[in-house]
């Protein structure tokens, strides 16, 4: 277990880049150069980092004394620990690549505000820290920073609806952040620990959870629901997706799905063997995915529809995690990775349509297939990809989810997942028909508003979807090995 010094760079470097572009606020050329260079460096860092743990300020494990651990587990970590493994590598590679795409598209759309790019970098650093952190309070701090950064990304659209969405998001963010910190405080009061590994050891050594620890579980679960946009907060999340620029919405849904994965793994690691938590996760996930799909079917506005589809897919990921077997958890994480790609394609297409037609109301759009055939083809392929049609990637993950549901003893959930993928397909194919195949309207789109880069990026993404669909084991097997090794 050697001390890899490149690991904190994944968090520190985006923060430095954010500070730089924030200082160079008005100078657009330098902001553009620094944004491109540092985003590419941010892609390179996770690829060249070796697996391992980073002990901040070199605090090694020491034997526990009563201040640190109330029940004496043999040795505890004295400092903040970041751990970096195959799962973190996959998530961080996808996260940084998507961030690069979004930064390129934002620069392409002349959104070169230094503060905007800085907020993208700060959210990248926060999600990287949330994925890497093995320390509960560090986790909490970066969830709060992520809340502020996402709200700022939405505020950057200077419309009243986006201001209202950001205000709602931050009000409930204070509630959920307070509940997470209160849960952490109660756990600290009982066990005297903040490190997740030591906490799980202490909880296993302590036996059954006392009532105060049950209160902590409930409070942290409230925070989990908020951070991943599940049932009571799905309206807030979908408002955020809807009122951001579509590129920022693609980034936001990716970040919230990855935070969902990281926080669920943390909860399952800490309270391992507490099956009621998994049951509660499963219940909220089922509610979220059904309500998200039903609301998506009811919408007549493209961005709102895609927002509810994204919320529903997050519920599907949480359903896989809530089933609780290693197979279902790895299938849920795999579905998160696949779904992020296809949702990003759909949001980028929505951004193209918003820029060219100046609206995303479905009844005002029409016969786009003559005007933009490539975009139409790619949106159709992304629709197939997100609704689980072979040979695309979501087919592999949804197939594994259904298999895991049947193996876990809930065959009805397999039927429900099939119905939900059908509903998602109907919802998005309705939008596809009304945009690209419906007889046209009098709206005159200017189709040259986006350069060649936009088309290149969505083609790259659909090729990535096809590649993961054809070779799923490249992504799935490391995740499965990690989950089995975690033993949650």
């Amino acid at each position: 277990m050697f001390n890899s010094t490149l690991i904190p760079l994944m968090v520190v470097f985006p923060l430095i880049a954010a500070i730089l572009v924030n200082f160079l606020h008005q100078k657009d050329r330098s902001v553009k150069t620094i944004a491109i260079i540092s985003s590419i460096v941010a892609v390179i860092i996770p690829l060249i980092t070796l697996y391992g743990v980073h002990l901040f300020s070199g605090h090694i494990r020491t034997e526990s004394f009563p201040e640190m651990s109330k029940l004496l587990i043999p040795d505890v970590y004295m400092g903040i620990v970041y751990s970096y493994g195959p799962l973190q590598k996959i998530l961080l590679a996808l996260l940084t690549v998507m961030t690069v795409f979004v930064i390129f598209l934002s620069l392409n759309r002349k959104l070169i505000s230094g503060v905007y790019v800085a907020m993208i970098f700060i959210s990248l650093a926060s999600v990287s820290a949330i994925i890497l952190a093995d320390d509960f309070f560090n986790f909490f701090v970066f969830t709060e920073v992520l809340t502020v950064a996402q709200a700022a990304l939405v505020i950057a659209v200077k419309e009243t609806k986006s201001h209202k969405a950001a205000f709602k998001y931050m009000i409930f963010g204070t509630v959920s952040g307070g509940s997470i910190l209160l849960g952490i405080a109660l756990l600290l009061g009982i066990y005297g620990l903040l490190n997740m590994t030591d906490l799980s050891n202490a909880i296993i050594a302590g036996g059954a959870l006392p009532p105060i620890a049950l209160t902590a579980v409930a409070l942290i679960t409230v925070g989990w629901l908020y951070e991943s946009g599940l049932f009571p907060f799905h309206i807030v999340k979908s408002n955020m997706y809807e009122n951001a620029t579509p590129e920022a919405a693609a980034l936001l849904q990716l970040q919230s799905k990855f935070v969902l994965v990281a926080m669920s793994i943390a909860l399952l690691r800490i309270f391992s063997g507490y099956t009621l938590l998994k049951s509660v996760m499963l219940g909220f996930a089922i509610f979220t995915v059904v309500i998200g799909s039903v609301m998506a079917l009811q919408q007549t506005e493209l961005r709102k529809l895609l927002s509810f589809v994204a919320v529903g897919q997050a519920g599907l990921v949480a359903m896989g995690i809530g089933l609780g077997t290693s197979f279902s958890i790895s299938a849920g994480i795999f579905h998160a990775i696949n779904d992020v790609l296809s949702m990003a394609i759909l949001f980028f297409v929505a951004g193209y349509i918003l820029d060219s037609y100046k609206t995303t109301k479905l009844d005002q759009l029409g016969d786009g297939l003559q005007k933009a055939p490539l975009i139409g083809l790619i949106m159709f392929l992304a629709t197939l990809a997100i609704s689980g049609v072979p040979p695309f990637n979501s087919y592999q993950s949804e197939f594994r989810l259904i298999q895991a549901a049947v193996q876990a003893g809930y065959a009805e959930l397999g039927i429900l997942i099939i119905l939900l993928s059908i509903a998602t397909f109907v919802a998005i194919i309705k939008a596809f028909y009304m945009i690209f195949m419906k007889p046209g309207t009098n709206v005159k789109p200017d189709l040259a508003i986006r350069g060649r880069m936009h088309k290149t990026i969505i083609v790259i993404l659909i090729v990535m979807c096809l590649f993961i669909g054809l070779f799923p084991h490249l992504v799935y097997d490391p995740i499965y090995n990690v989950i089995v090794a975690l033993g949650v």
């Binding site: 099956t275 009621l276 049951s279 089922i286 059904v290 079917l297 009844d363 959930l413 119905l419």
Partner: protein, 107 residues
């Protein structure tokens, strides 16, 4: 029969376009009903307490008598902040109750 359902949906969803919107309305209604049936079956199968079984049967009957449920769901999921506050308070209460009672009966 189908024409009557179409008429019901049409006069409910008059502002949502003609054919495709009503088709998606049918789909969501079918999804809601099948979801309630599946949830009822799950609770009946996994809950080994008579109370849960009776409660789920009553709720299922009450829901199946109030189709179409889609518009109810849509009315409960508006962008209103007060509704979200209500559901947040409700879910916090439900979480505390569930974790304190510690009943493994729930699925």
């Amino acid at each position: 029969m189908l024409d009557k359902i179409y008429e019901i949906f049409h006069e409910r969803m008059i502002h949502k376009g003609k054919g495709v919107g009503i088709g998606s309305g049918f789909t969501s209604e079918f999804l809601m009903i099948s979801f309630f049936l599946i949830a009822g079956i799950l609770v009946l199968r996994t809950a080994n307490s008579v109370l849960f079984a009776l409660g789920s049967m009553v709720i299922l009957a009450a829901i199946l008598f109030t189709v179409p449920t889609v518009f109810r769901v849509e009315k409960e999921n508006t962008d209103s902040i007060n509704l979200t506050c209500f559901y947040v308070a409700l879910s916090i209460a439900v979480l505390l109750i569930v974790f304190f009672s510690g009943s493994e009966v729930l699925i």
